[in-house]
Amino acid sequence: MKKLINDPLKVADELVEGLVDAYNGECKFVGSRSIVKNDIPDNKVALLVGGGSGHEPIYHGLVGRNLADGAACGDIFAAPPPNIVFEATEAVDKGNGVLYLYGNYAGDVMNFDLGAELSEDEDIDVRTVLIWDDVCSAPPTEKDKRRGIAGLVPIVKLAGAASQTASTLDELEAAAKKAVLCTRSVGVSMSPGSIPATGKPTFDIDEDKIGLGMGIHGEPGVAEIPMTTADELTVQMLDLIVADFEKDEEVETLKEGDEILLFVNSLGATTMMELLIALRKAKAYWTEKGIKIYDVMVGPLVTCQEMSGISFSVTRMDDELKGYWEMPCQSVCFSKMEGRYGG
């Protein structure tokens, strides 16, 4: 693996510096390794995201207009330490509290919780909503064991919009929880990414196998299946999402007439060509079920270096979420004009 880097031990610091440069004055570097918007209005209920680096453009690429106010950035594939969470919290807080919205990984939960304790010591009101969209990581009765994967992009987009109008932390928390509850993802992986510091692959998988339901670092899913066609795999993956809405007693089954936001993500090496071919099948799949695609996102937004793999995320939309969606937004991760495609 030829990587264009300088010092393998400094990649996380340097990439966050570069990210701040990409924002060209709209964001600043804060504390040890956080990125925070410059123009957060007084009294805004703040939205903070974060997690390990190396998955660019997430998580820190989700800071932006009508998106997150800041991000606490960890080292490669490692949760940000509590002081970084605290420094980011202090910087985004405008007196009306801070919502932490991040993927459910043990390391992240421990460090964000510690960061929350430090922040509360400074009288900052902090609330946490965990993202656990990966339906293959635990059954619907054990959602607290589920991982956060690509669904965090639409969820943060929706919460970012909600944070523009929310007048209390309670309100923003409720909106974010709704976005989480309505979003489900399934991912697969076909080959590993590598850790810049060691150059070593993050996991092993046979040349002719696909890890169905595998997480974004190679965590196990529901099965290892033989390499197959884009169309067959798409159906298998979407069936798992449909089944989860069915089995989960907290949400209604997906049914004819429902509207969904569809996100097709690449884990890195899987090309846009492949995403679009899979998207084509997904469109046919939902159309056949009478489920309407409200809007579409596609691209390599949640990655793990040069890992190959794809995920589908589905968010069931209602009027509240549609309102959040239609707001324009702008970031290195995801930008859009007002409205939606075909709308």
Binding site: F77, A79, P80, G107
Partner: protein, 210 residues
């Protein structure tokens, strides 16, 4: 002749010795985590202990507890990830429980490990048997409770043996937490990386006090 108690500065120097020992053991820890995890525990602990050395060297502390809390804070903020939180919590919780004591004795050892392991279990949710550093730490804490009346040198010696035995026992366990749970039955036969760190830390404490 081993030490009866440790002063604040001796406690600080003991932790500097621990730091050197962990840095020296980086390859062992890397190998352990490579076998069962993602291979970064060695460099993570090395980074943490370099931060510890920076935080402790030539510093004066008002109490023994503050020394340990400084260790915890340095690890927590330099390492990140699960293990930064876990090891940071061990030293912060253990140190906090020591109050403003100005010496580290057998009773202090007992308090430190008891509160340390409780903090870790509360923070990370791991129980003994999950094949984590708790499997070295919990037996260490139990033993520390039993030997609270002994001089610090003897107490730490007994606790180090217990940590070592706990680490060895972790070889037979199946991982249920963290990355290694991927391996299921295949995780048997090797010791947990974090448990190795605990055993090395306590052994270095013993060697200093001896």
């Amino acid at each position: 002749m081993g030490k009866e108690t440790l002063s604040i500065n001796e406690t600080r120097d003991m932790m500097l010795a621990v730091a050197d020992k962990i840095i020296e053991s980086e390859p062992i820890l890397t190998d352990a985590d490579r076998a069962l995890g993602d291979g970064d525990h060695g460099v993570g602990m090395e980074r943490g202990m370099n931060a510890v050395k920076e935080a402790l060297a030539n510093q004066e502390f008002p109490s023994v507890g503050k020394v340990f809390m400084g260790v915890g804070m340095a690890m927590m903020s330099s390492m990140g990830g699960a293990s930064g939180a876990i090891f940071g919590t061990l030293f912060r919780s253990g140190g906090k429980a020591l109050g403003d004591a100005e010496t580290f004795d057998g009773a202090g050892v007992a308090t430190f490990f008891k509160e340390g392991v409780e903090g870790v279990m509360k923070r990370g949710g791991a129980k003994p048997g999950d094949k984590t550093m708790v499997d070295a730490l919990a037996p260490a804490a139990d033993k520390a409770g039993e030997v609270a009346d002994l001089p610090v040198c003897e107490a730490l010696s007994a606790v180090a043996d217990a940590a070592e035995a706990g680490k060895e026992a972790s070889k037979d366990m199946i991982a249920t937490m963290g990355r290694a749970k991927t391996l299921g039955e295949n995780s048997r036969g090797k010791a947990d990386a974090g448990a190795c760190s605990v055993a090395i830390i306590v052994a270095a404490m013993r060697d200093f006090a001896a």
